[in-house]
Structure formats: C-alpha cells, structure tokens
C-alpha cells in the first residue's frame, strides 16, 4: 500500500528524520475549511494535494501561495481537482523552504536480486529513472541482504557527493533512520525526494514516498484513511476478496490470479472492457463465490458477467452452488456467461440447470475464449 505524503512525514517525525511541519486540511471536515481564514500562516506556503498517484506536480496539484487571497483561491482550486481519476480530498499546507541543493535518497527491495538497494544521488527533485538514464555516474547504489552498517552508507554517499562533509554526516544520519523505518514498517520502498539542503545548512525531507508490503499487518492502520480506493474495493478488503476495480462494463470472476488476468486479456482481445478483477482463490466454497458475485455486481457500470472457473482443488459443484445462491438471493437481470472446467464439472453443470429458471440470459461455454467472445457480443 502506498502512503500519502502526510502519513510518510508522520513516520519521519516518529523516527526523528527532520522534515517540514505541515498542517493537513480535509475537504470533508467543513470546520477545518472555515477556520482556515483564522489560521495564522507565515506566507509563503506550499499547498500540496494528497493523492497517491504519481505526477501530481505536473497535474497542477502543488501550488505556492504568497498571501491570503492566493491561499484561499488555490485551496478551492485544489479541492476541485481530479488527478488521474483521483479526487483531491486532503491538502497539506507545508512550509516554504529556501533551497540550496536537492538530493535523492531511498531504500527499495529489489525483486530480481532478492536484496535491498540503497540509492543516493546529489541530483534530487527529479525522477530518479531519468537521472539513471542521463547521468548514471551521479547515482550511487548499494545492494545488501538485510543488514546495513554506517560505514557502508557513508561510502555510498561519498562516491557521488563529497563537497561538504557536515552535509554528508547529516545525510548518513537520515539514511540510517530511514533504514530503521523501512525495516520496522515492512516497507517495499522508502524514498525521500527531494532531500534538501537549506540556505542555512540544514538537511531535511521535503517529500515522502512510502510503500508498505500488503502482506504486513502494518497496512491495517492505514486502511481507513485510504481515500484513493473505491467503495467496492474497500468492501472487498473487509471481506478478504482479491478485487481490483477497472473502468469497463464486463464483470469478471475466476479462480487464480493468472486465470483471472487471462480472462481479462481474452475479453480485451475481442474488444471488450473488463469492469474488474476478482479472484475467488483456491478451493473456494459456495459462500465465497456467492459473496464475490454480490460484490462484483455492486458496480452499476456492469452490463454482463463472465464467470470462468478451472477446477483443480476448487470444485465446480461448489462454485455452481454459490452461483445459484447468489441469484436466489437477488434477482439480477444482467446476462451471465459461465465456463466450468475440471474437477466435478458434470455435477456443477447439473446444479446450474436451475439457473435458467432464475435468470433467462445465462450462457454456458466450453472454453475461456468462447466465453470471452460471447460476453463481448452480449453488450454490443
């Protein structure tokens, strides 16, 4: 899970990483909004939209306000802004810092090496991938298994920056603290970009980017504050269903992540647009299948549903029971395409005969490709 900048900065404070002191305002808390006029602010300030998608600066999500009029104008602007489909609901009012120099600093888990990589560059404030392409000699990378020592960090910094030794010392200190944060919070990525040197010689974090491993319990405490996910996605999390909302109109349910992705690919191949990804998992019982159908069909954009099951450990009869239960509980009127293959296929098919009484538009297909063709044809 990606954290918001303000959440990352809260973690920085906890780990004593010097960072800006900001005030968070929330669109949905009107009191906050009204009291803004009474806030005692030393201008200029930076107004930063709190969204998890990248490229908010380019999208106009960051503004500098020099006085109260500009401040009120920009707040209204930002709260009306949508960045890559995500509405801005929170703004961080941040200190404006006179900058001498910008650095880049991060810890990332490198999946191809099964290691952690510490990355430092004296060219901060820009996309690090761009630096890597254009000036690879300005990037210092240190790969390690899971333990890290101060001298390793010092050396990695000195390889690309040795102008002010006092600054090196401050950066080393911050890097060690960031590594503790990275370890103790099950981070996949902990990035400070930019890490700035102020005109008066202090080094601190101007931005934060933290990604926490979804397998870690640490994510639980951030779930409630996550406004970048849809209502259905939130419910899926509560019900422990692997669901991703997409912007098409064909509902997709299958067993196994690869199979569901493949089903989406096939629908795409015939120019259909999947409305979601939903994996019922291995060995799913009727109850879970039923819940999944109800969840997927909460999306009002859906015009047809494609259920694609290959029974290995999952039994087709169990899946069929779940489908029947879902349609008994609610009389959905959309067409349904079903493909059942593998373990207990015949039993499953026999159970599904009842579905024809519950839903007139139900189609059985023999393979996934045929199913994709069928479901796409139904919405045209």
């Amino acid at each position: 899970m990606n954290l918001y900048e303000y959440q990352g900065k809260k973690l920085f404070e906890k780990y004593q990483i010097p960072t800006t002191k900001g005030i968070l305002i929330d669109k949905n808390l009107e009191n906050d909004y009204i009291s803004l006029n009474e806030l005692n602010i030393n201008f200029p300030v930076v107004l930063k939209s709190q969204v998890k998608v990248g490229g908010r600066g380019k999208a106009g999500g960051i503004k500098v306000a020099n006085n109260k009029d500009e401040f009120m104008k920009y707040i209204k602007q930002l709260f009306n802004l949508t960045i890559k489909g995500v509405k801005v609901n929170k703004i961080l009012i941040d200190e404006y810092v006179p900058i001498e120099k910008e650095f880049y600093l991060s810890f990332i888990i490198d999946r191809s090496k099964n290691q952690v990589v510490f990355i430092f560059s004296p060219l901060g404030g820009i996309d690090i991938e761009e630096v890597a392409e254009k000036q690879p000699d300005k990037i210092s990378k240190l790969f390690f298994d899971y333990e890290l020592f101060d001298f390793q960090i010092r050396d990695a910094i000195l390889k690309v920056y040795n102008e002010k030794i006092d600054v090196v010392k401050q950066i080393e200190n911050i890097a060690l603290k960031l590594f503790n944060l990275f370890k103790e919070n099950d981070c996949i990525l902990a990035e400070i970009n930019p890490l700035v040197l102020t005109k008066d010689g202090r080094v601190f974090a101007l931005d934060s980017k933290i990604i926490i491993d979804d397998n870690s319990e640490v994510v639980d405490q951030y779930e409630e504050e996550d406004e970048d996910i849809s209502v259905i996605e939130r419910e899926a999390k509560v019900r422990n269903l692997a669901y991703v909302e997409l912007d098409g109109d064909i509902g997709i349910i299958g067993n196994g992540a690869g199979l569901v992705m493949t089903t989406m690919d096939l629908v795409g191949l015939y120019n259909g647009k999947p409305a979601n990804f939903l994996d019922v998992g291995g060995g799913a019982k009727a109850e879970k299948v039923k819940e999944s159908i109800h969840l997927v069909l909460k999306n009002p954009k859906i015009k047809a549903l494609f259920i694609n099951i290959f029974g290995g450990i999952t039994r087709c009869d169990e899946v069929a029971k779940g489908i029947i239960q879902a349609f008994q509980e609610q009389s959905y009127s959309i067409p349904v395409v079903i493909r059942l293959e593998g373990t207990n296929k015949q039993e499953g098919k026999a159970i599904l005969e009842q579905l024809k009484e519950l839903n007139k538009e139900v189609f059985f297909v023999e393979n996934a490709e045929e199913g994709a063709q069928k479901v796409v044809s139904l919405i045209k």
């Binding site: 998608v53 899971y146 099950d186 979804d214 196994g256 690919d265 096939l266 290995g312 593998g342 996934a368």
Partner: protein, 298 residues
Amino acid sequence: MGILVDKNTRVIVQGITGKEGSFHTKQMLEYGTNIVAGVTPYKGGQEFLGIPVYNTVSEVIREKGRVDATVIFVPPKLASNSIIEAILNDIKIIVVITEGITQHDMLKVHYYLKRSNSIMIGPNCPGVATAGQTKLGIIPNNVLSPGIVGLVSRSGTISYEILKLLKDHNLGQTTAIGLGGDPLIGLRFKQALEMFLNDEETKAVVMVGEIGGSDEEDAALSVKKLIENNKPVVCFIAGKNSPEGKRMGHAGAIIMGKSGKPEYKINALKQAGAIITDTIQEIPIILKKELSKVKLEN
C-alpha cells in the same frame, strides 16, 4: 526422468497437521509421493495417515535418516523460520506453498539460501511434480500425466489448465513447476529452463509468465539455448489488459513505472525464438506442430 524430483525423493511435510498441510499430504500420498515424516512443533510422537510427526527437522534426520526435499505449509508469520530450518538442515529441495509471507521475512531467508546448496521453489506456489513419479505441493492429481513437455509457470490455475490440455492431447509432462506469485522467489525461469535443457526426456517447454518483475526477460538466453537444441518453447503471458500500479491478486503481479510490463516480456521472448500465444487452447496444437518440424529436420 524429469527434473528436480523423482519417485526416489524422500520428502517431509512441514506443517503436516494444519488444515492445508493435512489435506494435501493425503493428496500427495495418493499420488505416490514418498513422504517419510512430518514436522509440527510440539506434535512430535503423533502420527498422521501413518506418517510419523516430529518437532523439528533435525529430529527427523536423526531418527529417519536422509531427507531430500520438504514441502512447507506453515502459516505466513512462522513460515520464514521453517524455511531457514530446512536450509540449515541442508535439505536440497524446499517447496514453499504458503501465501502471505512478508518481503522482509523473505530477505532474511534469501540471506541463508544464498549461502547454501538448497533450491527453494516458491513461496506462494503450487509446487513441483514429475508426472507418474512424485508430487510435492498442491497441483491436482487428475491433471498430471507422464509425457514429454516441461512446464514452468508463475500462475497456478493456468498451469493446471495447461497440464490438463497436455493430458487430453496425449502430450503429457515430464516435470511441472509452479514458481510462485510472490516478488521474492527462489527458483526462477532461467534456472528451470536450464534444467529442462539438460533433461533428455523433455522435448518441449511451456512457459507461463505474468506481469511484474523481469524474470521472463532474464530467461531469454535460456529460451534461445532450448530452441537451438531442438526443444521448442511456447510462452503465454498473463496480464496484458491489467492497469499500472495495481496488484492483480498475486503480490508479484504488479506493473511499477516502467518495470514489469507485458510487452517487454513478450518482445524479449519472441526475439529469443519462443512462440507466443494469446490463448491457452492453442498450446497443444502449437506444440504438436513444432515437434513435428523438429522431427523432420532430424
């Protein structure tokens, strides 16, 4: 022959008394896997389906002698310790079925793994089976059939479906390997393909990749070697229609920035000479065609 495991492989099950562990131990025994013991802490002395249970892996080795492989069903929070236990006991093949282990736990595992002779398959994988001989993991027994195709896959259900198609078309498998859906895994495409290259019975290979990471690209050279040695390679990549930055079920199936995109994988494999297919149904047909070409050339 097949690779990694065969009928003589002496197997233990770590987490044998749990819900998943016990169900799949039964399935493995039905398939003929030579399971010599199980391990569950503080359940030592019990028996499960006639298999003796011990408290530690070392205890098994002291009492029962050599152990070649382990299948781990231990819950995610405890799993990394169980893997390290297997590594420190020099078990050659370690199959980790558990889903949900954190990446930081896996970093620790990899520290020990690198300093050992063990081969880890998984985590979050269906395991490995050499058809007609032995099965370590959760691949359904009814889709396996002895034959000539090697299968290596990052996706469970897709590989079961392909295995069944290979069975229905009388091609069958030598060994089927599920690499796992996590980002930090042990055995990867590259090594698995090299093993199929050296296995005489494997005449062709099916490779199933998905979005996320760069393991498919990293295996391009091995794909090329297989083809040069008259072993056709058919590839299927899942996730062509998946959005960026979203985790698609598997923890490892995520496109981040420029990394993990399906087109990179497809291009690299195509250039190496593999045949890329958009539909699973076609795989046996393509294989038969390619295999007959190889025959003609010889």
